[in-house]
Symmetry: C2
Subunit: 297 residues, 2 copies
DNA sequence: GTAATAGTGTCTCTAAGACATTATGTC
DNA sequence: GACATAATGTCTTAGAGACACTATTAC
């Protein structure tokens, strides 16, 4: 019961294939990562995105977003995490849905394709190589937004791009050599409409309401206001006044002074802060295979 | 080649079924509409939403959002418009995607279900009964947002709720008697998680950045500032200072004074305004079967 | 005239941004 | 000591909100 090669007359009985694409952001590429643009150093002034090189037509050899088809027993967020992990060997700390694309298919494939785009954030500590103690891939906690937005959860497999979904078999898996990290300011030419998806994701990230609440996810559990400001500057792509940033960040009410100081720098030590989860969020990390809040039939 | 009754071992080869649910808003219920709550008059102080009564288990007899499965030759927005029209006999002036739900299915159905939620707005003139001159349903222009967000377009059929998608056949269609309009403040108990979807849609609608740009879609092509303020009050559910509203609405820069005045009221006549589409939007209404901007394979 | 909304002017308060100043560590 | 960033304080300006006041129609 496979759908490849269905004739045109059979098509109308086929439900669309469902796949995801993921735009993942990090403040730095991982230490062992290949850089798409060898010229650019890994400064703190830009945002980095992992891309995979396509190993199939169409757009063979071109860069594209990590992604892949949903499997029968995984939710959409599962699929997003699994295919992102297949490309980067790392699990992001944050994942959120962006938008769904469901155009009528015009390619040679037998099925229509519905693609759901996600965006993900990697914190500093999530970029260290994962220790492969457990099964196929890491099981680090992933934070998925609660509140008005909703979601699903994480599992394992290979990594293509979302457009290869219509092929029933997950063949032609991506070797790690086909993955590289790019600065958001210096993206290569991208397959399909992935450039627009990235632009959309960047727009969301740069929207004030978004970055104010997610900037800290690029960092570890504790951080200085200076680091947080650096993140904001990287997200916005422009400098931010330190004094005003401090006032606004603290007025936000979601930063907690840990009482500790960061030492070792060649200047006055900075206070360390934690991010206080909003009361409703319950700060409940989602682990692979969790059953929580699966609110839909 | 139908999928109903697939055994558990077959399931893993089945792609998820894809369906949509639509939260439609109007400032008033249509004149010929049935009201869910006979007590409430049709004042301008609230927002109205059409619901359909389920004719199947689960949640048989309970109210739910209009929706239905995607057909092989229609896009997601097509499906949304078609199933909304099946319920209300009317085509909305605006349609935008909200969120996708893709939980692993736990019901008795053979397939998983991915549901994409949309929200729609009906303008005053879109609530008049449609003149059935052309084919199965109206072909009035529908405005779908451009810019970072993307979409697809409209076609005909019956109207269930999105959760009936897994059944391959669109049987058990909704008679108009099973449709009623409810005030957003007085919703009945809803099937599935539709209450959350509506709350999400209301949240989006009430977000300042959204309602500032969509409020005029509840009205006809020309309107007074007083009417526009009334819409805003209905959306927000609270009074708004007329003077301040005027200043902000005009400062927005998207209202054009037509030079005409509204007469007949027992008070000073008000200027009539049009909404100026932002330059990028090209103000290009989308008609059924259009091929524009279908940007995805 | 009265009633009712349209439309204008003005005051206050808050928050954003610019920028000066002091504090405290490493070298 | 020099240097670098942390942390605080102050001034200006733009905008939101409260509210008083004038304008113009129907009756």
């Amino acid at each position: 019961m496979r759908y490849t090669g269905a004739s045109a007359s059979e098509r109308q009985y086929l439900p669309p294939a469902v796949a995801v694409s993921v735009v993942a952001f990090a403040l730095q590429p991982p230490a062992d990562a290949e850089l798409g643009d060898p010229g650019a150093g890994a400064g703190d002034t830009t945002i980095w995105i992992p891309l995979v090189r396509r190993t199939r037509a169409p757009f063979l050899g071109q860069w594209a977003l990590p992604g892949g088809p949903t499997q029968w027993d995984e939710t959409l967020a599962d699929t997003a995490l699994r295919s992102l992990h297949a490309a980067t060997q790392r699990t992001p700390g944050y994942l959120e849905q962006l938008y769904s694309f469901g155009g009528v298919e015009r390619s040679a494939e037998a099925q229509r394709l519905v693609t759901i785009a996600y965006w993900a954030l990697y914190g500093e500590h999530e970029l260290e190589p994962e220790v492969s103690v457990r099964g196929a891939h890491g099981v680090s906690p992933v934070q998925v937004p609660s509140g008005p937005r909703r979601w699903d959860d994480p599992i394992p497999a290979s990594g293509l791009t979302g457009e290869d979904a219509a092929a029933g078999t997950p063949a032609g898996s991506v070797s790690v050599a086909n993955v590289a990290w790019f600065s958001a300011d210096r993206l290569p030419e991208l397959a399909f409409d992935h450039r627009e998806i990235i632009d959309h994701a960047l727009g969301r990230l740069r929207a004030k309401t978004e970055y104010a609440s997610v900037a800290h996810r690029f960092l570890g559990p504790v951080f200085t206001l200076g680091r947080l400001r650096t993140v904001t500057e990287a997200v916005l792509g422009q400098p931010v006044d330190p004094a005003n940033f401090r006032r606004q960040a603290l007025a936000q009410g979601s930063l907690v002074d840990t009482g500790e100081l960061e030492s070792g720098a060649r200047h006055r030590p900075a206070r360390l802060y934690r991010f206080a989860e909003p009361p409703g969020a319950a700060n409940q990390p989602i682990t692979s295979g969790s059953t929580s809040a699966r609110s839909r039939e």
